[in-house]
Structure formats: structure tokens, C-alpha cells
Assembly symmetry: C2
Homo-oligomer: 320 residues x 2
Amino acid sequence: MSLRQVPIDQVIERALNGDRRAIGRLLSLVERGGDDAETIETATHVRARDSHVIGITGAPGAGKSTMVARLVAAFSAADRRPAVVAVDPSSPLTGGAILGDRVRMAEVDTTAFIRSVATRGHSGGLALSVPGSARVLAAAGFDPVIIETVGVGQVEVDVTAAADTTVVVVTPGMGDAVQANKAGLLEVADIFVVNKADLPGASDARRDLELMLELSHVTGQEDADHRPPIIMVNSLEGDGIDAVRTAIAEHRDHLVTTDRLQERRRKRARYEMRVRAELAFGAHLQRRLGEPEFAATVDSVAQGDDTPAAAARKLWQPYA
Amino acid sequence: MSLRQVPIDQVIERALNGDRRAIGRLLSLVERGGDDAETIETATHVRARDSHVIGITGAPGAGKSTMVARLVAAFSAADRRPAVVAVDPSSPLTGGAILGDRVRMAEVDTTAFIRSVATRGHSGGLALSVPGSARVLAAAGFDPVIIETVGVGQVEVDVTAAADTTVVVVTPGMGDAVQANKAGLLEVADIFVVNKADLPGASDARRDLELMLELSHVTGQEDADHRPPIIMVNSLEGDGIDAVRTAIAEHRDHLVTTDRLQERRRKRARYEMRVRAELAFGAHLQRRLGEPEFAATVDSVAQGDDTPAAAARKLWQPYA
């Protein structure tokens, strides 16, 4: 019997008992958004709080998916039950590599749960669906839950940064650390990984990161008691993966002992509340923009008379 | 004398007269956002309307920047004055390639204006600054203005799709067209380019696109009178570049003769108005979330008691 015909409460019950097909069905509903997604959120939110959520991000081609595959194997070997929400980049090359890794990962370890989602959703989008999917996997008993996104795009970086622990992956190459900084990745990192550390320039990449961390310590960071470690990794060979796993565990301990885990969760709560409110308000604005009242204003902007800023003020000022 | 000490009205006047340093200064101010950016918008909006805005997007590694370099040379050879706003991906490899191309392009053609911006801005972000930068370049007399972004990320795709003509670049490779579809690129394309058309699989990529266009024609597209052409290009050799330039000109003619150019401009006006209103409202929400009134709600969500959806409703319902 197809799960599409099973009432949602029963699908939720099965998923919470670890039924993989039911979990997959819930993830599809969360990605779609709407009322079902909210029912699922209500059923999973409180149960999700014990799992550690890890965000992993970095530039396209940084070897994130290979590293995640290795990390999943390492967590499984340590008797954890890892799950992954991977936001597919639209690159065919990277996409291909991800598929390849997923297949290999599935052969290695059938207990982990791997979910790949499209870069660009149709309703609500990644900003809502990724935390929702992580919540489903956590409530179903997976721990840690790894969110992997490409470190390009505001939404993609923000959603990874809403994790308990955020790992930023860079590779040796001229200006890679500088690029990561430009992409806003420096400020969100709890742990740095220099992947492909066998390549020339790996020690330069480490030095660049150290220098930039030094500078950012001067200007002040969110968590002054934690200096992000820089770990050299060769994901293809598996070198350094256990050091990453240890650094993640140490960061979690740090969060718990300094009471910063709750601060992270409050930050995530604010992030989810704001994103939802913005989406709801955005839909409201979209409707307003379609109303006859605004037709003349839109025309005027399109013709070059009114400026977008002035026209936008007419739209939002009643709400501010 | 540094332009920082020149009153903004004078910098604007110089920029509108084609002074390249003044144009660069305005672009920096637009990227920064705020009052100066709005002053610049007011001075440039109406003057910008005659330039054709071209969006170019595609997966990382699709060879967009090489193609844009060729296209700039082709427009210059046809006595146009092209400018480019390129949103730098954080990839060191692609970033490096862009720099390389820019340098080569600068040698070939010193009349074009090329502006590279970081992927992730600090205030307002790409969604505001990219249309604003295009407006400055158009008002300074550049035509066409090309916006180049990586086709990953909601903001990045949306900002490119707000052009008059949007070109989506794919490369031969298993499932590339499918990936482009997943990334939402199929629905925004007015023209498809299969780049690196000398590689194996190029004809497969074309066939995949044709098939998907066929299917999307069944379900209905925004512009039923325009079927996106698919152009085979080898940017390294320059093959097909003139066909792209011609297709862009034909699409503009189509927009003008069918009165769809105004519809595109209205769409862009609505996009800019909505983005601005959302950002203004988002800042307002961020302040609200920091107020004591919401502290208990945020705590409750962080602890797993309240759901994010329920808490978000408290936040946005007063405005809906």
C-alpha cells in the first residue's frame, strides 16, 4: 500500500519508530511545505532537541560530499546514527560526484539516512525545508544530523549556519581562504577543514586562515571562548576525518559546558521565526502587488518615473 | 583628490558623463546600500531605461565567464558599449578563472566596464545591489548591461531572471539539463547555450533541453510566443558567440514588438519593490525578535516547546 494513502498521523508514528519509507515520505511533505509540513513540525519539534545538528559548507569543488561520506562512516563506526540532508548543487559535475558518493556510502553503511534535495524549492524554499527535514531525521532518532550545502548563496550559507556546529571546508588554492571570507563563511565557522591537504598550497591555506582568524579575534567574534580549529584532511584517503569528528564532539562539549548550546538554539529559533514571517509577509506583498491599487505604481517604476525605493516604501510603510 | 571627498551629486554627474572612476565609486556606494545608494538610484533610474539588461546564469564550471568575455568582445565589435556585473562565486577555481578572463578582457577591450561583486553582501545583499549596479552602468551609457551570476542559490537565480533577456548556460554532461531544471533555470531561460559544445555529450544535452522545453510547452510558459532557442557554443574558440549575440537581439525585438518589454520591466519593478519591502520588514522583524516581549517565545522554541511555525505566527500575524 502506498504511503500516500496512509493518514499522516500514522506515517508520522511509523517514522518516529524508524520506518525508513515513512521517514522518506515525511521529508517529501516537508519539502513541499504547507499544512502537512506544519503537522509534521508539531509532531517532531520537541523530539528533535537531543540530536546534534552539524552544518557543512564550502565552495563548489571543495570535496564536501566525499568528506561527508567519510564522516558518516566514522560516526557509524563510533556507534552513532548519522543522517545527512544534502542540498544538491546544480553543477552536473558535483551532482555526479554526489550521486557516486551516495551510492558508495549506501554500500558501506545501510543504517545512515541520506537525503538529497534540489537547490531551489518551489514553495517556501530551502530556508524552511532544510531545518524541517533535519528535525524529522532527529526526531526519528538520527544523531548527528548533518546539513551539507554549497557555500554559495545567501540562503544556502544561512541555513548551514543555523546548525549547532558549523564546519567550513576550503581547499588549497590561491585565495581560497580569502574567497571564503568574501562569501561570509569565516564568520559562521566553528571548525575549518582544509580538504585535499595533499595538494600543493595546503599549508598556505592554513596560514591564510590563521591570519584571518587572528584579525577577526581582534575585531571580536560571537563566541570569544572558542577559536575555530583548522584541520588538515584528505577525504579521498580518509586522513584527518577522525580529527574532524573529535573536533565536532569537542565543540558540542564546549557549547554544553558554556551554556552556549541554548544560545545557538535560540539563534536557530529566531532564524526560523524570521524566515517564516518573511515568507508569509512576502506572499502577502506579492498579493498586494497584484492588486489594482498598485498597478499604476508598478507601471510608473517600469517606465522609469517612480524609483523602486520610493515605490517600495508605499508598499511596506503601513507595516513598519 | 579622492572621490570620497567629492560631494555625491558631483560624483553622479561625472559618472553620467562617463568618468570611469566616478562610476566605480557609485558602484561601491550601491553595493554598500543605505542613503547614498538611494540618492544614486533616484539619479540613475530614469536614465537607465534604454539599455538592454541581459542575465547570464548556469552551474559552476559551465564556462560562463569565458563566454561573457567573448560576448563583450562581440558587442564591442558591433559598436555597442557593453558592461558586466559579475557576481563572484566563492570557488577559488572559478574565481581565479574570472580574474584571468577579466585581465585578458581588459587587454582586448578597454571601453567595456567590468564589475565583480562578492557573493554575499553585508547590507541589503545582492538582491538590491545587483539591479542597482546595472542601473548605474546603464545610466552611464553602457548598453547592453550583462548580469552574470552562478545558477546556484535562490537570490542569485532570481536576480538574473529579473533581466530583460535571460541566458542559461549548460554544459555537456550526464543530467546537466535535468540539474538545470532542478535549479529552476529552465523556467527563467529566454535563450539556452550549450557551452563546451566540442565535448562528448553535447548533442545529448541539446536533446534533453528540447525534450524538456517540449514538456514545459504543454504545461504552459510565461511567454507562449517565444520558444527559447538552443545555441551550441565553444567559448574557448569563439564558435557560436555571434549566434548568441543575434539571439539576444532577436529576443529584444520580440519583447518590443509584442509589448512584452514593458511586461518584463513591470516584473522587474515588482521584484525590486518586493525585495526592498521584504528587507525593510525583515529588519523590523529582527528588531522585534530582540525585544523582551519575544524573549520567552524564542526560549520556548529553542527548548522544543513552542513550534517555530506557531511562534512565527505571533510575529507576523499582526501585519497580515
